[in-house]
């Protein structure tokens, strides 16, 4: 009998090919489109040719600025990454802390549960002006936007995950003589750390959104700043590689978090699938 579609899996090499296929198709479509437009109008800027993109990459990523001696791509990347990572770290610490104690302590839940639910539906971009007014246009307000943007999600996710711990385990810990503090420290926190990484991975997309928005609006450096600056000159040859670079960074950070989770919490994958 023929195997059902849901049970048929590609072998390894076919799998690699299938994964690469959409990217290759996209590139082909792009180059066809680009060639067609350039044939009609050689000064068209919308779909630059691969060679002019290559020139732009050379200019942005490998050539030092004559005056300052800086390489623009690295200046932008490090400025963005510092903001991004600080925002993520603070959001993780704040989110993990409040999420866990709120999920664990009924009194905390009674007083903070609704508050966090309300907090999480405020559109962060709507309070960006407030952040700029209160914290100024410097780094603080950009990091604060990332934190305010993703911490409420992390908090709510952590509350749910703590509540998911089987009540049997909580009773069991108490029958081993554990105090509230000990249960938090030895049972809840260790079980929440890998789930915190999950929550963080899910909020990476939102974090990038807030970072680039903040950089686009008020900044002198950063990947988002550069893209929005180049828009004025219709420099698609710079914007496209920058977008690809941001995509790569986002993907790489996500991958690192996944690896960290697998390395640091070997029990987690097994207990989740079981």
């Amino acid at each position: 009998m023929r195997q059902r579609l849901i049970n048929r899996r590609p072998e390894r090499r076919v799998g690699v090919f299938l994964a690469a296929l959409p990217f290759v198709l996209l590139l082909i479509a792009y180059s066809l489109g680009s060639d067609a437009r350039l044939a009609e109008n050689p000064s068209d800027k919308l779909l630059p040719s691969f060679s002019s993109i290559g020139d732009a990459i050379e200019r942005m990523a490998f050539t030092e600025n004559k005056r300052t001696g800086e390489i623009l791509l690295w200046v932008d990347t490090s400025a963005s990454l510092i903001r991004f990572v600080s925002g993520l770290l603070i959001a993780t610490l704040v989110g993990g802390f409040f999420g866990i104690i709120t999920g664990l302590l009924p009194y905390m839940r009674a007083s903070l549960g609704t508050f966090f639910s309300v907090l999480s539906v405020i559109p962060p971009l709507a309070i960006l002006p407030i952040l700029f007014i209160v914290l100024g246009l410097g780094e603080t307000s950009k990091i604060a936007l990332i934190v305010l943007g993703i911490a409420p999600f992390i908090i709510r996710d952590m509350i749910l995950r703590v509540e998911e711990i089987p009540s049997e385990l909580m009773v069991k810990a108490q029958t081993l003589g554990a105090s509230t503090w000990q249960i938090a420290w030895r049972v809840v926190v260790p079980q929440m750390l890998p789930r915190l990484i999950d929550a963080l991975r899910l909020s990476l997309g939102a974090a990038w959104l807030f970072l680039i928005a903040a950089e686009a609006i008020a900044s002198q450096s950063g990947l988002g700043y550069r893209i929005f600056l180049m828009r004025r000159y219709l420099s698609m040859d710079v914007i496209l590689p920058y977008v690809a670079w941001i995509t790569f960074l986002a993907f790489f950070i996500d991958w690192c978090l996944l690896k960290l989770q697998q390395k640091a919490f070997p029990w987690f994958a097994a207990s989740r699938s079981g």
Partner: protein, 259 residues
């Protein structure tokens, strides 16, 4: 050696009466097997004994004292599932109780104290036949091994009362027989009082010194919610395993096993 007394226990969830008029005097070092149809409130009774649930009416006494409001280390538990901590290895699971007991703040032991605790944990694990799996995580263990781990974890605290909720329900007969032998031995060595919920009557009579059957008195559909389960049968198992053991101890008679 711990006596447990239940005085006129009722348990209701909203309008649903689950248990009513439960009166029970349990002698020290008894092995009480609780049986009854599914949903009759066996787990509920056990949860009340571990202070995870409060009786609607009535009181529970342990050695004449009212039950504390929280679960305590005096009353160990083993559930059918979720009894062991997935983020700790076999060894750490057993060590945890000792660590929590002796180090209130950091929850970790160091140096000599750590070594003593490790030895204790290892010999307990040897005893339940898990000496070879110290570094494994529970997810890598079979069901029977997980339950043996849960028993070791509970027993390292030297509880006065052990509460078991269908602890061997999911095990195959061979492994179950092995664990029965282990359970019997540990019960006799530690002198604890055991309550065990089971669906298996032969297990109940094999391990128990006393078998208690819970069941609803009224079975008409419209009455089901209004009336809870009561103690329908209360049987002492013969030959009495307890006095048999004590005979061993006092007279040191030749080993006549009661099975």
């Amino acid at each position: 050696m711990t006596a447990v007394t239940l005085r006129n226990i009722w348990k209701e969830y909203g309008d649903n009466v689950v248990l009513e008029r439960i009166d029970l005097d349990v002698e020290p070092h008894s092995f009480v097997a609780l049986v009854g149809p599914s949903g009759c409130g066996k787990s509920t009774l056990l949860r009340m004994l571990m202070s995870a649930e409060v009786p609607t009416r009535g009181e529970i006494l342990i050695e004449g004292e009212p039950l504390p409001a929280d679960p305590t280390a005096e009353r160990g538990v083993v559930f059918q599932r979720y009894s062991v901590f997935p983020h700790l290895t076999v060894e750490e699971n057993v060590l945890l109780g000792l660590e929590l007991q002796t180090s209130r703040l950091s929850c970790k032991l160091f140096g000599g104290a750590k070594r003593t605790a490790m030895d204790q944990a290892r010999s307990m694990l040897e005893e339940v036949g898990l000496g070879h799996a110290l570094k494994q995580y529970p997810s890598a263990l079979s069901g029977g091994m997980q339950q043996r781990l849960a028993i070791a974890q509970a027993l390292i605290m030297r509880p006065k009362v052990l509460l078991l909720d269908e602890p061997f329900g999911a095990l195959d007969p061979g492994i179950r027989a092995e664990i029965h032998v282990l359970m019997r031995r540990l019960w006799q060595e530690t002198k604890m009082t055991v309550f065990m919920v089971t669906h298996d009557l032969s297990e109940a009579f094999h391990l128990g010194t006393r078998v208690i059957a819970l069941e609803k008195d009224r079975t008409r559909p419209e009455e089901l919610e209004r009336y809870g389960a009561v103690i329908k049968h209360d049987l002492d198992v013969w030959p009495p395993k307890l006095s048999d053991l004590e005979a061993h101890e006092t007279v040191d008679s030749e080993a006549t096993d009661d099975i």
